[in-house]
């Protein structure tokens, strides 16, 4: 356990470096030294400092918050469902959150962004319950397979409705187009402010549940025998997952793959104890999204690719490699 935290300083150092590097690249690249100066010793009169504070820093923070949230949500879902394929994207939570946001803020033009994380979390929750209900009704019950299949069904269905809404209402489409591919470009600082308390709460909840999630990996009966109240654990974990997913989606839109892949990468290094998996997933998820966003901004510069597209393009092959490496 304590041994398990030995590589944490390394990961945190990499995260700090990734954070500064992320800020350094862009239309005009800024030397890392300047980034460091701006962060530690801000000087209003220096133009680069102003750029860093007003434009680059927020984006790096979006990446950190969304990456950490999605990856912890994925780790929790995999632990609770004992399903290695569980993730907010695959089990339909992300499209549920997006759907709720598109309908409320796009179609019905509701404008109180303060409620956006909550609306998204509500959408994620409803989708999760639907997916779970459909899987339960299938012959054999909620197995990893039926869960993934009903997740796919719900995703396709809600995706179709979102497309339909956009065909009927072009204005909302233009407004939401970039957001829906999962992007840090249009992310807004005001939404981050509203989402941040939820993220902190969701993370804290995830950390307090971690110990019980490890016990649950040995089966519900064993966990029960060890004193885990399984129903309560699952409900609380669900709250943490939808809150984290909702917050991340409200900031950067539906960003797939992070929640699926990062926890697996983390497990390769720290094993099966969720007291390690949860904090490492947060750090590595944040780092991963920072790096992905750096790629998104530099490969086709000055054109910027949507972060979501890069995650899928790099995440897909990476996952295949990972699965092969483990076999």
């Amino acid at each position: 356990m304590t041994r398990g935290f030995a590589i944490m300083p390394l990961v945190l150092a990499a995260l700090a470096l990734g954070f500064c590097w992320h800020i350094a690249v862009g239309a005009k690249s800024v030397p890392l030294v300047t980034v460091f100066e701006a962060l530690t010793n801000y000087d209003q009169s220096i133009f680069d400092h102003a750029v860093i504070y007003n434009l680059r820093l927020p984006r790096a923070i979006f990446a950190v918050v969304a990456g950490a949230s999605l990856s912890v949500a994925g780790a929790l879902m995999q632990g609770i469902t004992r399903n290695p394929l569980a993730d907010p994207g695959i089990l339909g939570l992300m499209i549920g959150a997006s759907f709720a946001v598109v309908m409320t803020f796009g179609y019905f033009s509701f404008s109180q962004v303060a409620f956006m994380p909550l609306v998204a979390a509500g959408g994620a929750l409803v989708a999760a319950v639907l997916v779970w209900g459909i899987a339960l009704a299938a012959p054999g019950g909620a197995t990893p397979l039926t869960l993934v299949l009903s997740g796919a069904a719900i995703s396709t269905f809600l995706g179709a409705i979102i497309t339909m809404v956009h065909l009927l209402d072009e204005d909302s489409y233009i407004e939401m187009r970039v957001w829906l591919t999962g992007s840090l470009t249009g992310a807004r600082m005001d939404i981050l402010y509203w989402a941040l308390p939820w993220v902190v709460g969701g993370m804290a909840l995830a950390l307090t549940l971690a110990r019980q999630v490890t016990a649950l990996a040995m089966g519900e009966d064993t966990a029960n025998g060890l004193g885990v109240d399984v129903v309560r654990l699952k409900s609380l974990a669900m709250i943490s997952v939808v809150v984290l997913t909702g917050s991340a989606v409200s900031i950067v839109g539906p960003l797939g793959f992070i929640g699926l892949v990062i926890p697996h990468v983390v497990r390769l290094f720290v094993g099966a104890d969720y007291r390690l998996i949860v904090p490492y997933s947060a750090a590595v998820g944040a780092l991963y999204l920072l790096l992905i966003d750096i790629v998104a901004r530099i490969v086709l510069a000055p054109i910027e690719i949507s972060t979501g597209i890069v995650t899928a393009m790099l995440g897909g092959p990476f996952f295949v490699w990972l699965v092969r490496a483990r076999l």
Partner: protein, 285 residues
Amino acid sequence: MAVFSTRPQPALPFNGPVSHKNQFETRLRVQNLSVGYDQEEIVKGVDFFAIKGGITVLVGPNGCGKSTLLKAMARILTPMAGQVLIDNELLHGLPTKEVALRLALLPQGPIAPEGLSVQELVSQGRFPHQSLFRQWSPEDSRAVSEAMKATNIVEFANRPLASLSGGQRQRCWIAMVLAQETPIILLDEPTTFLDLKVQVDVMNVLRKVAKSGRTLVVVMHELNIAAAIADHLVMMRDGRIVASGTPHETMTRDRLKQVFGLDAQVIPDPQTGRPICVPRLSESL
């Protein structure tokens, strides 16, 4: 008497004229319990108790409800009727964690999580002793290392559980429930899939545990081993308890026929006097 040559403190008067039903201290008692899944009643009106400081063995044919009864006694299933008493308190009124401090359960076929090392697995047994504010303590370390020594798995400490053989893994699971250090331990088929020598090793561990004053309830299928270690042998069939008493009282030719439909001769172990069952193969082919 030769029966007790290997155990100086007999828990039971063997061959005694009376059944020992009310002579023994018990911390776990089941009264008129009915329990099952959904609406289906599996265990029907069962009365049962476990001897303090002894091993109670539960046998019966596949599907007769042994695991179901054990799960009800571990508070995993809720009774449809009747009750489970632990230290004369209603088990189903206690919080999950409180139950886990008094009673440990090793379910049938537990899942070995990928990537968990043996040491980490055994440490899970300390779960009910910890909380958010009370993390790992020297007391926990002591319990874990004692449990690992008792089950002879110290050499595997850092190996992943998934890389061990079935028998080695089973010893790790037993170590986990021992580390829980509860006065009552329920084990569902701890010796299935083990070779005979390892079964005997495991039984010796369990006997030592019982001798330290803990209450053990063990489900198993190997009748001769059951008869050899049981202080109290209970036979179940179709959700009901058919026989309960010392191995001498319960393991008779007629009972084996009645409970298992098994044609067998019962002879005494020449050394311990405990009953041994020798199945007779069908003569007409």
